[in-house]
Symmetry: C2
Subunit: 324 residues, 2 copies
């Protein structure tokens, strides 16, 4: 087994080696641009690590791993059009740098390119890999659909929110883990348990994102704190605060949500104070810790070498100690 960063190096080399056709430039340049913006490359690294942990040939997993990263970046590209987001990883998004039509069509081409890479899985496991990938992709679209619908609702329940982030974020982490196991020819039950490990880590990861937007350190976080608060985004924090805050706190929270053009610093400070007062920080931290513990318990029950388990434990710890 290698370290997570060594799998990451293999992924980065494989992503850098992707060959894009020269023409038409208007179709392929936006894909190359998107992939050049970087990112944590967590999902493809997990594919390689899972394949290795189950005794597979890591080389077999490289193309499908790249496919999963292409897919992830395709979803970001199209989400940025739908969310009218101007900046991604500190650079202009494709629909800003080019235009909406270019973003739509390049995204489509990126999805098919992702499918092509994933189709390079070894023939004996190809049907299972394709089934897993396509099912996951559908769930992610469902998650994005719910996320968009929640924007116009003030009555989003906690269970609805958790299901939305499970679909939009967690299933792809689970899919990455399982895909590596399947490519290695791992036992079907163990592969499913590793999927569950990834799914739980994904839930913890997204809740931590919600938490960091409020309580993160601006320098480490890499972007301005309070973006979710300013946008009234229905995060775990806001949903719990709407459920638990009372009296004057609740009235003030609602007035900030409905305020026209509020001062950013004032709104973020005031809403953060209400969250703190209602104990939302502790609730979120507790939930993150419960999901992480459940993930580690699931991992412990998998038939896998101690070295493999240690690698996934180290990954979970790394993710949970992140500041961004």
């Amino acid at each position: 087994m290698l370290s997570f960063n060594e799998y990451l190096d293999m992924v980065n080399a494989a992503v850098a080696a992707i060959k894009y056709p020269a023409a038409p430039r208007g179709l392929y340049e936006p894909i190359a641009y998107t992939m050049s913006l970087g990112g944590k490359r967590i999902r493809p690294s997990l594919v390689l690590m899972a394949c290795d942990a189950f005794g597979g040939n890591v080389t077999d997993a490289v193309a499908p791993a790249v496919g999963l990263e292409l897919f992830h970046n395709f979803t970001l590209l199209h989400d940025d059009v739908m969310d009218k987001a101007d900046i991604r990883r500190g650079k202009p998004t494709v629909h800003i740098k080019w235009n909406d039509n270019t973003a739509i069509l390049s995204g489509d081409a990126m999805l098919t390119t992702a499918t092509r890479y994933i189709s390079k899985a070894p023939v004996p496991v190809m049907p299972e890999v394709m089934t897993l990938f396509n099912k996951t992709a559908m769930e992610i679209y469902e998650g994005q659909q719910y996320d968009m619908e929640f924007e116009n609702r003030m009555d989003v329940r906690e269970d609805e929110y958790l299901n939305m982030i499970r679909l939009k974020t967690s299933v792809l982490i689970g899919c990455a883990c399982k895909m590596g196991a399947v490519i290695a020819g791992g036992d079907s039950n163990d592969a499913s348990l590793l999927y569950r490990f990834g799914e739980l880590i994904g839930l913890a990861f997204q809740l931590q994102d919600d938490l960091l937007d409020v309580y993160g350190d601006e320098k480490s976080f890499g972007k301005a704190i309070g973006g979710d608060i300013m946008n009234n985004k229905k995060t775990f924090m806001l949903i719990k605060a709407l459920e638990l805050s009372q009296g004057a706190d609740r009235d003030e929270l609602l007035s900030w949500i409905n305020a026209d053009n509020p001062d950013r610093a004032e709104k973020v400070a005031a809403v953060t104070k209400i969250y703190t007062h209602a104990g939302i920080r502790e609730i979120a931290e507790k939930r993150i810790s419960v999901y992480t513990e459940e993930a580690l318990d699931t991992l412990a029950g998998i038939n896998m070498t101690d070295e493999g388990k240690q690698a996934f434990r180290a990954f979970a710890n790394m993710l949970m100690e992140r500041k961004k």
Copy 2:
């Protein structure tokens, strides 16, 4: 072998039997709506006919055939967003009936749904079927990209145009023919020849579309004549007219192209007259006939039963005699 209409009936039954998940409705209703609008269902019918002609089990080809029709309709859905088209098959397009975001996300889900259906090809041929499908999909995006780029160019050459329609329209007809042959386990060379037959028929089909927009009978055509002329669409007709018209005719053609808010009836009549004067109608008819003859010659060279060849000949004749 069955008649083309009998394969079509099988396709229509299979399309009607597609099960869409109930939730989230905002994701799946636009897909069901798009598929309910009908269409000629040429591509999936060709998949079944080709499979049967090569002695395959037609049942094996039904799911991939439905997948190809889902894919075709996905491209129309996203093209309608990019082209800002309000009406498709006489009904409001998805981005008009819902909105752009719904059209983008439902389209993505439709592409993955198409891939899922195509993945149901029998396991032994699945890698080849997926490779063929993904390659074709990329070519179709390239065709749409060129089509959009041509809108802003007045110097589109005939060879560029023919390559664009080959990519945007013909390769999917070729792919449908070949996919059926591959699923049947047909000889690889024969499958490629049937691809070429489909590609040539596709070129003839698109040129006939260009011709019908000018010289078609409004009642049979099912939509108003002259839409391409009004939009200055770079069709075969306009490209040849820009190449071949001279003197006063050429000046008049350019002035109609640059006219602000011209009267529709006047512009269509004047441009049609210029086309007729430059002999564009005959040139287009000749080209259609050359492609059709080359397609039939290609068909004649395939190792296939006479009954099979007769079925594809009848299909080619049906397509070429159409008025819409």
